[in-house]
């Protein structure tokens, strides 16, 4: 390969890399402007709150089954695994603490967020994408109705409100699952299970931080879901790709944000 060919080859690769980076940055900028516009134009969603309530139903209530069942099983597994480890150190009565802290701090927001992204996020993207593909968004524009205010904002707020409630219910069901396995099945003392949990779980450091996490995940997942739907190529393939992107991007965003938030909340302080 001659020097000129190597130079040409390298330049081609650099150009492709540059294009990919530029395109990514442009898309991030577009998504940020989209979020800003959605928040600024949330008047309709808040003034006519029944629009948002309908979306809370679709994103939240219809996700309840998967959230509650998953929470129950995650709590049960946590209790089984936790007991195996704790009993080696004679600390099996701390099972309640282990289950509760694991759920409230981490698993509740994270697993509920991942399930929310798969169940509600994908549905939001598919619905908005299909509305675009069938010209419903254009029809709204032609009726002088802003689709971001009328379609996107209620879904965004519906998701943001639903997510912390779902995460809380996930954690509650998980603790109940841990109780069933730990106390009812294995025979850990019920008084120790609950009292140690009550003593160890702090309202601000644990519960509030868990709630903050779930709110952040709710904003991230719903933002990604509405943006991908609105930005979808209006074809069957385009909507399918957008739906897949929502689940993948949301899941990665949740895990990355969880690391950052955990580092900020639970390291270096009293609760570390």
């Amino acid at each position: 390969m001659s020097l000129a060919q190597i130079r040409e080859h390298t330049r081609g690769r650099l150009e492709r890399l540059g294009n990919a980076v530029t395109s990514y940055v442009w898309r991030m900028g577009f998504a940020s402007r989209f979020l800003f516009y959605t928040v600024v134009h949330s008047g309709t969603a808040l003034r006519r709150f029944r629009l948002t309530v309908a979306e809370i139903y679709f994103a939240g209530v219809l996700s309840l089954i998967i959230i509650l069942v998953s929470g129950l099983f995650v709590g049960m597994v946590l209790a089984l695994q936790g007991y195996e480890t704790l009993q080696r150190f004679g600390a099996s009565e701390s099972l309640g603490v282990l289950v509760a802290l694991s759920l409230v701090r981490e698993l509740g927001p994270v697993v509920a967020g991942l399930l929310f992204a798969s169940r509600a996020g994908s549905a939001i993207t598919a619905e908005i994408g299909l509305m675009k593909a069938t010209e419903q968004i254009s029809a709204m524009e032609m009726m002088a109705v802003d689709p971001i205010a009328r379609v996107v904002a209620p879904r965004f707020w519906g998701g943001v409100i639903s997510m912390p409630i779902l995460a809380a219910l996930f954690s509650a069901m998980g603790i109940f699952g841990g109780y069933l396995v730990g106390v009812q099945l294995i025979g850990v003392d019920a008084g120790a299970f609950w009292s140690q949990m009550q003593a160890a779980v702090d309202l601000r450091n644990d519960i509030l931080n868990g709630v903050i996490k779930s709110v952040v995940f709710g904003v991230a997942v719903t933002w990604i879901a509405v943006f991908e739907g609105y930005d979808a190529i209006p074809t069957a393939e385009g909507v399918s790709r957008a739906t897949t992107r929502t689940v993948v991007t949301s899941s990665l965003a949740i895990l990355a944000l969880d690391f950052v938030l955990t580092a900020l909340m639970f390291t270096g302080g009293k609760s570390a």
Binding site: M131, T134, E135, S138, M142, M143, A144, V145
Partner: protein
């Protein structure tokens, strides 16, 4: 009502879709914009609706220069317009009643009983008052188009735009839509613009026709003048001839050579 002056437009600079288009549409008329797929007629309709802005020239619609309007101005103009989309574009999560009520709820503060009366009035006009509680998925293609028509006239628009309103309709539904376009235009005192490639059918309902090809208006006139046109493209299109200025074959390499029937 609509004045398009020397308008050019392209989705990118290298491929212009409209080149120097000019037309004037008078109040009260039903106008047809015809031509084969890809000639730029739907783009022209979107330009009139303010969804695109001309890259050159000017589009004046309902007295407003579309390129000079901000979002509020554009929405203000669109409140005086109705548009029927190719497949209706009904909101699939709302009933027929809610679809027709949608623009009334969004743009007026009318009490519910008055909205109900208006919705029933519009549905009666398209013959579907009895279908008010059905969902869009329960409607045939022709019925969905009629509901969309009722929705587009909910605010008594001055200008009604039709994007391929006859596509995929059976003959009965087709006849109903043709009759409704004319009746609604005349009863509302509106102006209608129909973009279509169903030439024979549309010539029966329009007052005046603009014929487009390759982003330009190549012929215009009253329906009888179009039928009698000697312009080769118009003749081919109106009579549905297989070959003419628009060739049957898409440009391709030599056929025998492609099939490797010739030596070398």
């Amino acid at each position: 009502m609509v004045e398009i002056q020397n308008v050019a437009f392209g989705y990118d600079a290298a491929r212009p879709v409209l080149r120097d288009v000019s037309l004037t549409i008078a109040r009260g008329s039903v106008i047809g914009i015809m031509g084969q797929s890809g000639c730029g007629k739907t783009t022209l309709l979107r330009l009139i609706a303010g969804q695109f802005l001309p890259s050159r020239g000017a589009a004046r619609v309902l007295g407003e220069l579309t390129s000079g309007l901000d979002r509020e101005g554009l929405y203000g103009m669109r409140r005086r317009m109705g548009m029927l989309f190719q497949f209706g574009a009904l909101f699939t999560d709302m009933s027929v009643y809610e679809n027709v009520a949608f623009p009334l709820r969004e743009h007026t503060a009318l009490p519910e009983d008055l909205i109900r009366d208006l919705v029933m009035l519009k549905l009666e006009a398209v013959g579907l008052r009895g279908a008010a509680q059905l969902m869009p998925a329960e409607l045939s293609g022709g019925m969905a188009r009629r509901v969309a028509l009722a929705r587009s006239i909910a605010l008594d628009p001055q200008l009604i735009l039709y994007d391929e309103p006859f596509t995929g309709l059976d003959p009965i539904s087709f006849g109903v839509i043709v009759r409704l376009i004319r009746e609604l235009n005349d009863s509302l005192g509106a102006t209608s613009i129909i973009v279509t490639h169903d030439v024979q059918e549309a010539l029966g309902v329009v007052d005046y026709v603009y014929f487009m090809a390759a982003g330009r208006i190549i012929a215009e006139g009253k329906p009888d003048e179009i039928r009698a046109s000697r312009e080769p493209f118009v003749r081919q299109f109106v009579n549905g001839e297989l070959d003419g200025p628009v060739p049957f074959h898409y440009p391709a390499p030599d056929y025998p050579a492609e099939l490797e029937l010739t030596e070398n």
